[in-house]
């Protein structure tokens, strides 16, 4: 028996689950992964673009926060992405795969822009602002609740349904553009006098405040309320939820209303506070990026803020650094962004598991 065991050749290394890792070590691994990814990107930039790799490295940082303008822009994009990430959390925690955040954002944009076009000058500004917010939140909620109702009642596939709703929303925006851009050009000029006032003259402050409030609110909602508890029970096991008397249909519908409403709110910020108009691509793909942010942070709102920062930092930094190298298309920045996320996501494996190498004693016969 013991002879048989000895005959099995021990592999060079094997994988072992870690008992637990102190938080600081886990973060050191994540930070390290980010830096290794940046170094790899720099080497690639040297190979493909022929520039100085060190210059590329420092350009990533200065492109993300080299000047006050860039810091403002970074905070603005970070806040918006964080809001969308928070919006998808309740649905994902419930294992409802809401891939329709882009469409829900656009629904909010449409409602906000409609208010700006039809009600500007008709009602007092304060009323207009409230209506912009309320209608955007309602529109987002309606856009999300349609697939939720179908899921709850007929158990339709929510991934396909929400995804499809994105295309419908984009089609609706194109339709409204032909209606609202009366010159036929499909370009709507910003309706400046109907836009929400800029706090301190800067357009990043309002989204930042909304993001901070939402982060705190979502943390409390998910962790300390009955709703939050019901969501996690439904996500863990629908049968358990039914057994303990949770009305699963009600929870699904209610949670998607929350999720869609928050996406609608982002639409209101985009159309009402930042751009003053609408376009089919105004969501900027945030609905999908947000899913990555939420997963990487394991749905913890505070960590999501960090992850949203990493995403925006990488995107803006890589674009700027590539530009400094004379790149005039989005291919190289996309490659760099992809490499960095590959490393950041892969490093989660090394936080969960460790590689155990063959011990020296047993391999000593060489």
């Amino acid at each position: 028996m013991s002879n048989a065991v000895k005959a099995v050749k021990e592999p060079l290394f094997h994988i072992e689950k870690r008992a637990s890792l102190p938080a600081w070590k886990a973060w050191a691994i994540r930070g390290g992964a980010l830096l290794v990814a940046l170094v790899v990107s720099c080497i690639l930039s040297g190979l493909f673009l022929g520039g100085n790799p060190f210059a590329f490295f420092s350009s990533v940082f200065s492109g993300a926060f080299g000047t006050s303008t860039r810091i403002n822009t970074l905070l603005k994009e970070l806040s918006l992405l964080l809001c969308v990430s928070l919006a998808v959390v309740p649905a994902f925690k419930m294992k409802f795969w809401n891939l329709g955040a882009n469409g829900q954002i656009l629904a909010g944009c449409i409602a906000t822009t409609a208010c700006m076009i039809y009600l500007n000058g008709v009602v007092p500004p304060a009323v207009l602002y409230i209506l912009m917010f309320v209608s955007a939140i309602l529109a987002g909620a309606i856009w999300a609740v349609i697939p939720a109702i179908f899921k709850a009642i007929w158990n339709t596939n929510e991934s396909l349904f929400t995804l499809m709703m994105n295309y419908i929303a984009e089609g609706l925006v194109a339709f409204f553009l032909t209606l609202w851009a009366t010159d036929g050009s499909g370009t709507l000029n910003p309706i400046k006098d109907a836009m929400l006032p800029k706090i301190g003259g800067e357009d990043f402050i309002l989204p930042l405040i909304v993001a901070i409030v939402l982060t705190a609110a979502m943390y409390i909602y998910m962790r300390f309320t009955k709703h939050g508890y019901e969501i996690s029970v439904v996500g863990e096991s629908e049968n358990t939820a039914k057994y303990v008397g949770i009305n699963v249909k009600k929870v699904v519908i209610r949670t998607l209303i929350v999720s869609g409403a928050l996406c609608g709110l982002v639409g209101c910020l985009l159309s009402g506070a930042i751009n003053g108009n609408i376009s089919t691509s105004m969501h900027d793909g945030m609905g999908f990026t947000a899913i990555m942010v939420a997963w990487l942070a394991k749905f913890n709102p505070a960590i999501m803020a960090v992850m949203a920062f990493v995403v925006i930092f990488v995107e803006r930094g890589a674009a700027f650094a590539s530009r400094q190298m004379g790149v005039t298309n989005s291919a190289f920045p996309s490659i760099v962004t992809g490499i960095i996320f590959f490393f950041v996501i892969a490093c989660e494996f090394f936080i969960e598991y460790k590689l155990k190498f063959r011990s020296k004693k047993k391999g000593g016969n060489e």
Partner: protein, 410 residues
């Protein structure tokens, strides 16, 4: 072991921070360019290549920075602001919808010159440092139409056309098609001039045969699928010749597959569509870019509020003819081009087209402004396109052109 790894990681992170701080002392530029998409888009590539060439000609290649993939949103203004921070004294934006955001930046930074292609509001904005530019591309499209018309005439004379290419059994009217982006003046002026170019060939041939055109809009500037299916639809409806005004390869590739001649825009499609490419018209922006660089950096005076390039200064050009162009096309184009330059030929000559069966004598509510657009000069009455403002404003739906409404609205 673990301690060593942690230490190493901390060291790398610290290096990163230092590198980040050191980066604050970065390079500055003098010329900034904002593009809607990148060099993969034919539209933006046309601007990017021209700007690089102009900067090289003026010895300013190191002073140029190009920012791509900037949507027509506040991001455009943010980018302009960032370019000002980087030292730019001249900023150019290439897309119609950038205009409002460029004007916003121009108001905030009066010491920086802002130029914008295809826009319409510089004349009325009241800002000294905000300028529009375009070119009389309708003349280029007219020439491209002549080349397309000659190909079509050749096909007619060689009996290559099928019954479905004619509107009815009398075989007196040949169908052609056009894929357009959005139903406004820039596109309408373009397809009307192209149509008149094709028509002029048949009028001159005097065979009692004419052309009729169907237009399908995609309601997007770049939608490869929509452009492709629009072209396929037009071909299945009998179009014997196709042209387009949208930025993807959708229409040309549909033509190549179906074997229908195609007149392109923005640049030659000869490599991708060797069997069907005839010619392409495009705006050459090098003359404009050299002009604004001279104005700002070589004391060339004030930049025009609204600059319009033309055939005569090389702003409007045709690409090389395809191998399938009809015989004698090059010679014919040279003659027509000369008459356009000397003014003896006007694209929108009112005797050459009708609206609701009548020749127009007056048109006062054009795209973007009010005022008489039809003038008489040296005995010729014509619609004076791009003379009161560089951006096109011819938006008349003339007879012989039908807009398909099943896919879009008018």
């Amino acid at each position: 072991m673990k301690k060593i790894v942690s230490l190493a990681l901390s060291a790398v992170m610290a290096t990163g921070l230092v590198a980040g701080l050191a980066a604050c002392n970065e390079k500055t530029y003098k010329i900034g360019m904002i593009c809607l998409h990148g060099s993969a888009s034919t539209y933006d590539a046309n601007f990017i290549n021209a700007m690089k060439e102009a900067c090289e000609n003026k010895g300013m290649s190191d002073d140029l920075t190009i920012v791509t993939d900037i949507p027509e949103e506040t991001k455009c203004y943010d980018t302009a602001k960032d370019l000002v921070d980087q030292g730019c004294e001249l900023i150019f934006a290439d897309s119609f919808g950038h205009e409002a955001f460029i004007a916003q930046a121009a108001e905030e930074f009066p010491n920086v010159e802002f130029c914008h292609a295809t826009g319409t509001t510089a004349q009325t904005a009241g800002l000294d440092n905000f300028h529009n530019a375009f070119a009389s591309i309708y003349e280029g499209r007219y020439l491209a139409g002549v080349a397309g018309g000659m190909k079509l005439l050749e096909m007619y004379q060689d009996n290559e056309l099928e019954d479905s290419n004619f509107t009815d059994a009398t075989k007196k009217t040949i169908k052609i098609g056009y894929v357009g982006a959005w139903p406004y003046a820039e596109v309408k002026s373009g397809y009307t001039s192209w149509f008149l170019g094709v028509q002029s060939v048949f009028e001159e041939a005097d065979l009692g045969v004419n052309v009729a055109m169907e237009v399908q809009f995609t309601n997007s500037w770049y939608d490869e699928t929509a452009e492709k299916s629009a072209a396929q639809n037009l071909i299945s409806r009998g179009a014997a010749l196709i042209s387009q005004h949208a930025d993807s390869m959708g229409a040309p590739s549909a033509c190549e597959t179906a074997g229908v001649p195609n007149v392109s825009y923005n640049g030659s499609t000869a490599t991708a569509c060797p069997n069907t490419y005839i010619v392409s018209s495009r705006i050459n922006w090098v003359p404009y870019f050299e002009y604004i660089i001279d104005c700002v950096f070589n004391d060339g005076g004030e930049i025009d509020t609204d600059w319009c390039g033309g055939l005569e200064n090389g702003s409007v050009v045709l690409t090389d003819l395809g191998t399938n162009a009809a015989e004698g096309t090059a010679e014919k184009l040279a003659t027509v081009k000369a008459s356009l330059i000397d003014g003896s030929l006007k694209v929108f000559d009112t005797s050459k087209f009708t609206k609701d069966g009548v020749n127009l004598t007056s048109y006062t509510t054009s795209y973007g402004f009010e005022g008489e657009c039809i003038v008489t000069e040296n005995g010729k009455t014509y619609f004076a396109e791009s003379s009161r403002r560089s951006a096109p404003y011819f938006d008349i739906d003339i007879d012989g052109i039908t807009i398909l409404t099943d896919a879009t609205q008018e």
